[in-house]
Amino acid sequence: MSSRDEQSAGREGVRRTVTRTLVVLAGMFVFAFALVPLYDVFCDLTGLNGKTSAKAQPLVEQEVDASRTVTVQFITRGSQGLPWHLEVDTRQIRLHPGQREEVFFTFRNNGDATTRARAVPSVSPSAASLHLRKLTCFCFQEQQLAAGERLEAPLVFQLTRDLPPDIKTVTLVYTLYPVSSTTAEVARRGSITEGDSA
């Protein structure tokens, strides 16, 4: 084989290598963005970050496990820049796995303008989030309240019987966040598919 052939073979090889690496490169860039929904799916499956499902789930018809009692705590938090108040009618309930429960939350806008906000839920221990089924929740979409307006909204939920036996206390925290116009767009787009209840 003459050297010239080797040279052109080398050139051909370089082109092939570059094409392949570029494909891998593009693939990895797409993969990085794909990791975002993948992470959500992974969290849904494993309860990794203690987020609850953003959609209403049907009640699982099952017998109440009267042999176990679990404490469920409710914590509400405000956040800066939002003159709203969120209150829960009971801070703590004790229930049996499988039982359906209803708790009422009250929103109030103390500001002097109409504003929108969203209550972001978080569950601890995170493993419990897999077994917490919300039939109705105000957290599925954002709320809009006029100045001084009040809104009472129920949370209907169930802890399924397959809740790991060592979990004795489940804490459910709602943090109110203001929804600015841009994030509202995004949030709305995200929640359009949920034909839900509130």
Binding site: T71, I75, S79, Q80, L82, R108, S122, P125, T171
Partner: protein, 375 residues
């Protein structure tokens, strides 16, 4: 030869340092909980494993360096692989690692014990202080750095607990399991007390859980461990562990004091009174960002001295303090400060450093505003 002596000197120095590692203040504290002692022993086991491996490997290396020096006329051998030796030195570390993983797994499992707690405390990180809510007790307060600015700038002598002291420590009963729920109002913080071996991130919008059962009464100090902005180095954690009876007493006192504070909101306060109280509150919670002289550090932290918006719009001033500003370091103080404190600090800001609003904001006014919200 000289090189060799130098190497030996390095070796001897390292060897001499080893016992010092065990001395107090040089090593991880053993701590005052069962978990912290477990962690300490894991730490020491893995440390000694490393020391032993290090002695063997470096021993072999320095032996070779000494024994097979070119200057000594060493002739190089030609071997360059030996499968069984390679298998052995792959397998042995693997076994050591497995042996190490067993106790580590056990410790980790005890740390994840979700059994019921005697007391639940919610810990909220905030730029740059901690807030503690005793769940179900209606007792909540913030814990601010109490080291004076003079000590930090060096104009006065630094105290014993420099940067590790707060105005109000977290008080916990000994012998009881305390569950800590951690979250944050702004950026990620991390709550850490070495003696309790609790370090857990406080993530905005999410709750983390940890627990502690303290064996001995005492004061345990730690710091925020996650970079959280300007004053990351100035948000200490102080835990005061007391006997359960003392804890109950403290809780009762706390509640009474809160009641009195609430009562005092009803009366009319004078400008001087409010200014005095306001200066105190300002120093504890506001001065870190807005500076003691109200000059702030723009653009992140606006100046308050000579701030026209502040002077012209008292209502906006009040709502900013109560509700905070979204997406900034300005937190909402509605739950953090009492009506008296909020009124005092606003009055102070409106009348200090050359600001001459002349008006007072009465605690009753603030209390009313907050009550409307709580109803």
């Amino acid at each position: 030869m000289r090189r060799l002596l130098m190497w030996m000197a390095v070796g001897v120095t390292l060897a001499a340092l080893t016992p010092m590692v065990l001395a107090n203040g040089w090593n991880m504290p053993e701590g005052v909980t069962a978990v912290s002692r477990d962690i300490y022993s894991l730490h020491m086991i893995i440390f000694w494993i490393c020391v032993v491996i290090g002695v063997i490997v470096f021993g072999a290396m320095f032996y070779s360096l000494f024994r097979y020096r070119h200057s000594r006329g060493a002739k190089a051998a030609t071997f360059h692989e030996h499968t069984s030796v390679e298998v052995i030195w792959t397998a042995i570390p693997l076994l050591i690692l497995v042996a190490m993983a067993v106790p580590a797994t056990a410790t980790l499992k005890t740390m994840y014990d979700p059994s019921e707690a005697d007391l639940d405390v919610m810990v909220t990180g905030q730029q740059w202080r901690w807030r503690y809510d005793y769940l179900g007790e209606d007792v909540a307060f913030t814990s601010n750095l109490s080291t004076s600015r003079e000590q930090i700038s060096g104009t006065s002598e630094k105290g014993e607990n420099y940067l590790l002291e707060v105005d109000e420590p977290l008080v916990l009963p000994v012998g009881q399991k305390v569950r800590l729920l951690l979250t944050s109002d702004d950026v990620i913080h991390s709550w850490w007390v070495p003696e309790l071996a609790v370090k857990q991130d406080a993530v905005p919008g999410f709750v983390n859980e940890n627990w502690v059962r303290i064996d001995e009464p005492g004061i345990y100090r730690g710091q925020c461990a996650e970079l959280c902005g300007r004053n990351h180095g100035f948000m200490p954690v102080v835990v005061e562990a007391v006997e359960p009876e003392r804890f109950d007493e403290w809780m009762a006192q706390r509640k009474e004091a809160a009641q009195q504070e609430a009562m005092s909101a009803d009366r009319e306060w004078g400008l001087d009174e409010l200014m005095a109280r306001g200066e105190q509150t300002y120093g504890a919670v506001c001065a870190a960002c807005h500076q003691p002289d109200g000059s702030g550090s723009p653009p992140a932290f606006p100046a308050l001295a000579g701030n026209q918006t502040l002077l012209d719009e008292p209502d906006r001033h009040i709502s900013t303090v109560i509700d905070g500003v979204a997406g900034s370091a300005m937190p909402a103080f509605r739950n953090t400060l009492s009506p008296v404190e909020i009124a005092a600090v606003i009055t102070y800001e409106r009348n200090a450093w050359g600001n001459e609003a002349g008006d007072t904001v009465q605690p009753s006014e603030i209390a009313e505003r907050l009550a409307a919200q709580d109803e």
